[in-house]
């Protein structure tokens, strides 16, 4: 209840043109927007430009926000759509990715992964996944959204969301087994 009151007050101040409210909004949601965008766009400059575009759109549309969801859900929806539009525009010719393409080159020269930071290794694997998987992982684990909220943001059926999460985690577990001393079967 308190959160809704605070959100209403923030939106009211933005509509009244208070600069401090704009700053507050960006400070409050920049991590969420950054996570959504950075998971889809790997280029740093593109990422920053897209984050800017997301906030510009948020301020442009804020008068249409009717408080039928949390403000964070609405912000995430805009970030998600903007990020996907950007990817569709820039990677029009790129082939459709598949979760099975996510791999680690075992036996290659780059076999230094055992010394690598586990976290960085996982992040690299995530970035190889199709966008939808990355987004669902981000929304659920990083931002702590519930299944209905993720459905609201992505417009995917709940079953699909759960399936993506399950498959993505299973894949990450499989590929990270060497970190835990479990041998991977070589192809």
């Amino acid at each position: 209840m308190l959160q809704i009151m605070e959100e209403k007050d923030l939106v009211r101040r933005i509509l009244a043109g208070e600069q401090s409210a704009y700053h507050e909004m960006i400070q409050k949601y920049q991590r969420l927007v950054y996570h959504m965008v950075a998971r889809v766009v790997s280029n740093e400059q593109d990422c920053e430009e897209l984050c800017q575009d997301v906030f510009i759109r948020i301020f442009d549309r804020v008068s249409a926000f009717k408080f039928d969801s949390k403000l964070s859900t609405w912000v995430a929806t805009i970030a998600y759509r903007q990020a996907l539009n950007h990817v569709r525009k820039t990677n029009r010719r790129q082939q459709e990715q598949d979760l099975d393409d996510v791999s680690y080159q075992i036996g290659s020269e780059d076999r230094s992964f055992e010394q690598q930071d586990y976290s960085a290794f996982i992040q690299q694997l995530i970035m190889q996944m199709p966008e939808q998987y990355r987004i669902v992982l981000t929304l659920y684990h990083l931002e702590g959204f519930s299944y209905p909220e993720i459905v609201n943001i992505t417009q995917m059926p709940e079953g699909t969301v759960k399936n993506y999460l399950f498959r993505a985690k299973k894949k990450l577990m499989e590929l990270s087994q060497p970190y835990f001393g479990i041998e991977i079967e070589l192809p």
Binding site: I26, C51, I56
Partner: protein, 103 residues
Amino acid sequence: MQMEQLERVLKTPLEMKLSASFTQDVVKIVMEQRKAEERRARMVYFISVFSFLLASAIGLLVFIPGEMKKTIVQILPWGLLIGAMALIFEWIDQRYIRKKLSY
């Protein structure tokens, strides 16, 4: 153990690589856009009022007979007063009422 570690990594926030002036830049762009929109709205408004006044003046000059013109000149200050009132109400509406209603 393996699952716990994976979940921990998945919950670790990404390193933010936005420029230090990110917030300032966004606010500046948004403010400039808002000012441009207001300027555009004001211009459309004044062009409309000016066109209306011009059309009225031409109409008066062309279609009103000579003796009636004297009467019109006499009541013109009232017309101007009504016009001024309309402008003031429009300003109050733009400045105070619409922002509250849009919320």
